[in-house]
Symmetry: C2
Subunit: 345 residues, 2 copies
């Protein structure tokens, strides 16, 4: 539209920013960026292994979860291989599956939630090679306890790898995060520095699992894919637990305010364990899209789920007070506008 | 060995550093790295398109040439597909070909040079899908004129894509650089900010070619693979032609000094169009490896070609005066040591 957004609350970024310690490390590493980064990400992997109480060989670092999902799919999917996910869950995972010729079987959300039980049952029935589960989920923000997922994993065929995408887990209640069990050859857990750590632009994700599965990434990954500033910043961010705690508090407050803004307009929103809130616009997908477009015309960038029935919602990322002031001011007008366009034309 | 190298002149990095303008942009972008980078690399691609007088749709940006080579191989190689390269040329390209199950046919260097004529003849004979040529070459630093490569391209089957890896071309004589011909569907030229631009740790490479071939990368690439600091730095680096010219002058002087150091020890070196010099140790591969190891024990990091007969050489990257002072001081001792180990034990 030829204009910059005034409020960028659509990409689930962390507007509360990167840890100052991570930033400082990033700046320092920038000055050394004439040198390649360590292709093994040795120091970062050591720190991650310590944090998660696993071995160095159980951690692989990559260019965001997107990159790691691509490598995983490459390793396990060939034309015709079946993969199971939820309809409307992370599209980039589906992109990789389609890219390698896999057969994607989608199960519906159950009560706006990715349903581990249904996913596993379907994976077993279809003879899937991978079953994908984001916990917390994007775009709805719902979550399951790690314990309930582990229970389903016990029922999953050993020939099928469960990938648990924990991109948002730092924002979630403590019972959400999986304990990485390196003795399970068919579990891989992925995390990122893009969300709660506020480093989306630095491209650092990691995956954890058995040494056999994680070790296999060495055969396909881009060994020099990591940037030096990204590696350094991630390492420093891990050492700034205080910043993380404070950011998560800010995210929680911001989510409460978003829910309040919706409530004042008599709209429901879905309780979120992530860094965004799905607001139920209650009038179908086309109406939700008009709300989104009307907000965009007013300089507010939000997104929406792409698959019905989740697509009755708009998805608003946690924002600053200023961002949410704009949302509060413009959302009523956007709703009016969308209503006029949809129903009075 | 539990110690840091005193001279890091083995990875063909640019010790003369990044453009201050690029650094400044990188620092600024670091502060905004809570945001994702632009998945289209719009501004950077526009600038690259302008520089090379091609269209926006003829340029794809990726996580270094390594990443782009991986995508290219993925698109064109399936199990059994034939690919032609030179024996001892860039191993990461071979890694990708093996990774996708391709059949790699290697032709020898001719007079320490990748031979376009032999490569093309072999590609035609073997029905190859890709023929790889680095110009200038790594690890020997030799080069061919773009004109002579174009002549061979004219003879190449249209079913085979020629990839010209110009990682080092900014250091080479002006007649080395290919003019990108977007009307040729089977030519792709790759460049990087890792070498002359001094941004190895930022992971920015790009490829240019017909809109059909370049557009196909959209179907397989990691759309959020680029870092925000890397994108910003690359864009700024393009606007600092002066720094590039000055760095290339320093590289040239450094290469001359390396050749002089070798000459004083009665060793030949190969005239280099890249940012390193291959020094001929004249006594076979095992001896060259002992020289390399002896230098390493003295805190000097260099590398060597991996395939005979190029492996008679060690490869020394352009270094600072201090780096080369160390090389000058230690190389005679390293040669003595290697000689003793090889011939007097």
């Amino acid at each position: 539209m030829g204009a910059r957004f005034k409020a960028r609350i659509g990409a689930n970024e962390n507007v509360f920013g990167t840890s100052p310690k991570a930033l400082s490390a990033m700046l320092e590493a920038s000055l050394e960026s004439w040198q390649y980064a360590d292709p093994e990400s040795h120091d970062l992997r050591c720190a991650l292994a310590e944090k998660h109480q696993v071995g160095f060989e159980n951690v692989v670092v990559g260019e965001g979860i997107d990159g790691l999902l691509g490598y995983l799919v490459r390793m396990l999917v060939e034309p015709g291989t079946t993969v199971v996910t939820s309809s409307g869950a992370y599209p980039t995972f589906n992109y990789h599956v389609h890219g390698y010729g896999g057969r994607l079987v989608c199960v519906p959300y159950v009560a706006d939630k990715e349903c581990a039980e249904l996913l596993v049952r379907t994976a077993n029935r279809e003879g899937a090679a991978i079953v994908y589960l984001a916990n917390p989920d994007n775009p709805m923000g719902t979550y399951s306890s790690a314990k309930s997922i582990m229970k389903e994993l016990d029922r999953l065929s050993e020939d099928c790898v469960m990938v648990v995408d924990e991109a948002y887990v730092e924002c979630a209640p403590a019972d959400a995060a999986m304990t990485v069990d390196i003795d399970r050859p068919n579990l891989i857990v992925m995390r990122t520095f893009s969300k709660a750590y506020g480093m989306a632009g630095a491209r650092v994700g990691y995956a954890m699992g058995s040494s056999e599965l994680v070790g296999a990434f060495e055969k396909v990954r881009n060994h020099f894919g990591m940037s030096r500033p990204g590696q350094a910043a991630a390492l420093a961010a891990l050492q700034d637990e205080e910043h993380l705690v404070q950011v998560v508090r800010q995210i929680t407050e911001s989510k409460e305010r978003i829910r309040g803004i919706a409530e004042n307009l008599h709209m429901d929103s879905i309780p979120s364990a992530a860094n965004f809130v799905a607001i139920d616009c209650q009038r179908g997908e086309d109406y939700a899209r008009e709300v989104l477009n009307a907000l965009a015309r007013r300089g507010i960038f939000v997104r929406m789920p792409m698959v019905w029935p989740q697509s009755r919602c708009i998805r608003v990322s946690a924002g600053t007070q200023a961002d949410l002031d704009l949302l509060e001011r413009h959302l009523p007008h956007a709703l009016d506008e969308a209503y006029r366009i949809r129903y009075r034309r």
